[in-house]
Amino acid sequence: MIEFREVTVRYAGALRPALQSVSIAAPRGSLTAVVGPNGSGKSTLVRALIGRQPLAGGDVRVDGVPVAQMDRVAIARRIAIVTQREDAVFSLPVRDYVAMGRYPHIGGWRGLGAADHVAIDRAASLTDLHVFMDRRLDTLSGGEWQRVRLARAIAQGGDAIVLDEPTTFLDIAHEMQVFELLSRLAHVERLAVLLVSHQLNLVARFADHIVLLHEGTVAAAGTAHEVMRGEVLERVYQWPLVVSRDPAVGAPALVPLRRR
């Protein structure tokens, strides 16, 4: 379980805090989504979790232990991060890249052992990557690259995965593939999956718990039906919209309107 407790973050020179007493819990076996407009503090949450953002208040905990008291390698063994953007400047074979998920386990000198190969193979099958393992990263399409990054995170072998906008630049089929995989990781593999996303309609269909951030505070939290309410979303996103029902599965679906 990943917990943000009353987390406050201030950037030097900013008028308001990037995050103001934000509390979010992402338990195992559940897909938790954080949504909100640009600049609402979503990515700051991820940076706080990996210790690259000092907190002005509150703490981030993993199974009750504040990450500030944990060794970074110990955190990496528990939680895998898929950052928003990453480009491989120096191309590698996919297999070598996925194997880097094992670095927190093998340290500075040890080679990959049997357990590491098992984890890598499992990650490759979950992401359906076996045929790609010998390709080079610079030959992958956007969708393939995203799956490879997910595979590296799964190979890390922890009990939680945190993803920052994993479906940016992906078409519908690839977007759906990623969400199906995340749902499987949460509900079948029983990981804690914490997802930062702009895809409100997909989040409404897949996430068990949604947190809507607005200017660094929690504007709403709960199930899709509790969070996806027209008046709340209109206020947060500053755009006229209606919330209807997804005709196929009945989840709330947001439709932005043209401005008159």
Partner: protein
């Protein structure tokens, strides 16, 4: 293959010169056999020169590979953080003050360290390490150093200016065993650290956030690697002046040969860099013998075509 290339170029480096030797003479003389003149030439003249060249090349290759990886920039090179500018300022000042020739290397080394310190200080303005800020700081320090060199050289006599320019263009002609021992010890420590940290460079090459997600304290590891790689480069500058292009080109050669993990890239770059500098030094002292060409110019002349080929492949 790289080991063979290094052995071959070293043999050539020892054999070629005003007193030519055959490959078997070289190997005999190395172990103290054969003509006493050959043994003396090899041990006091050729061998220190070749070993110093090899050390300089190995150090520049490793430092370049480390900076390219950690900064995620294929154009990074060992002199990036102001090492070359700072060393040139230090050396020009020493020339200007009429210091004896033995004081030029320490002056260059001091100048290089001061410049790296300054670049790091400037980039420290932010709390998180951002490679782009550091690159800009290096450029600024380099530009400042260039201006300082021109100010220093402007008032000097033509002979002193010529000496300073020759020094900047790099040479291993004055190699001696004391220099070799110093650089070998120094490079073993700093190069050894980089090799030990090679997996951290693998992670940094993915980006600071991704590296942090994989358990690396990127904000500490990255500056540590920049500093040690720059210290390694600074030592080569103190020993041989500015030997351009080796640190930029050689890591690309290592990657093109299929080495991916940075530990392998560093070792391959060290071997390839050593071969390249030894070979370039052979050319530098034979093409216009008995006059010598500046070593830094020869390495650049060899390096540019290779780099162009690499750019064409990437484009």
């Amino acid at each position: 293959m790289l080991v063979v290339a290094l052995l071959a170029s070293a043999t050539m480096g020892i054999a070629v010169g005003a007193f030519p030797l055959s490959a078997s003479d070289v190997w005999g003389a190395l172990f103290g056999d054969g003509d006493p003149t050959a043994v003396a030439v090899v041990h006091t003249l050729r061998l220190p020169r070749v070993v110093l060249g090899a050390l300089v090349g190995a150090a520049l290759g490793t430092a370049g590979g480390a900076l390219q990886g950690a900064l995620r920039n294929p154009l990074a090179e060992p002199y990036l953080l102001g090492v070359s500018g700072g060393a040139a300022v230090g050396a020009s000042l020493a020339f200007a003050l009429g210091a004896p020739f033995a004081l030029i290397p320490p002056a260059a080394f001091g100048g290089a360290l001061a410049a790296v310190g300054l670049a790091l200080l400037i980039s420290r303005a932010g709390t998180r390490s951002d490679p782009r800020v550091l690159l800009m700081a290096g450029v600024v320090v380099g530009a400042f150093a260039n201006a300082a060199i021109m100010v220093v050289l402007a008032d000097l006599g033509s002979n002193t200016v010529r000496n300073a320019l020759w020094w900047m263009m790099g040479s291993v002609a004055d190699a001696n065993w004391a220099q070799v021992r110093w650089l070998a010890t120094y490079a073993a420590i700093t190069g050894g650290l980089l090799i030990a940290w090679a997996r951290q460079v693998d992670l940094l090459a993915l980006g600071e956030d991704a590296a942090a997600g994989l358990g690396l304290d990127a904000d500490r590891a990255a500056p540590r690697i920049y500093i040690v790689a720059s210290l390694l480069a600074a030592a080569t500058v103190a020993s041989a002046g500015l030997v351009g292009f080796v640190g930029l080109v050689v890591p690309h050669l290592a990657r093109a040969l299929g080495f991916r993990h940075h530990r392998a890239v560093f070792v391959a770059s060290a071997l390839a860099g050593a071969s390249l500098v030894v070979l370039a030094d052979v050319l530098a002292r034979t093409v216009r013998a008995p006059a010598e060409l500046p070593l830094g110019a020869v390495t650049a002349l060899i390096g540019v075509p290779f780099f162009l080929a690499r750019i064409r492949r990437l484009a």
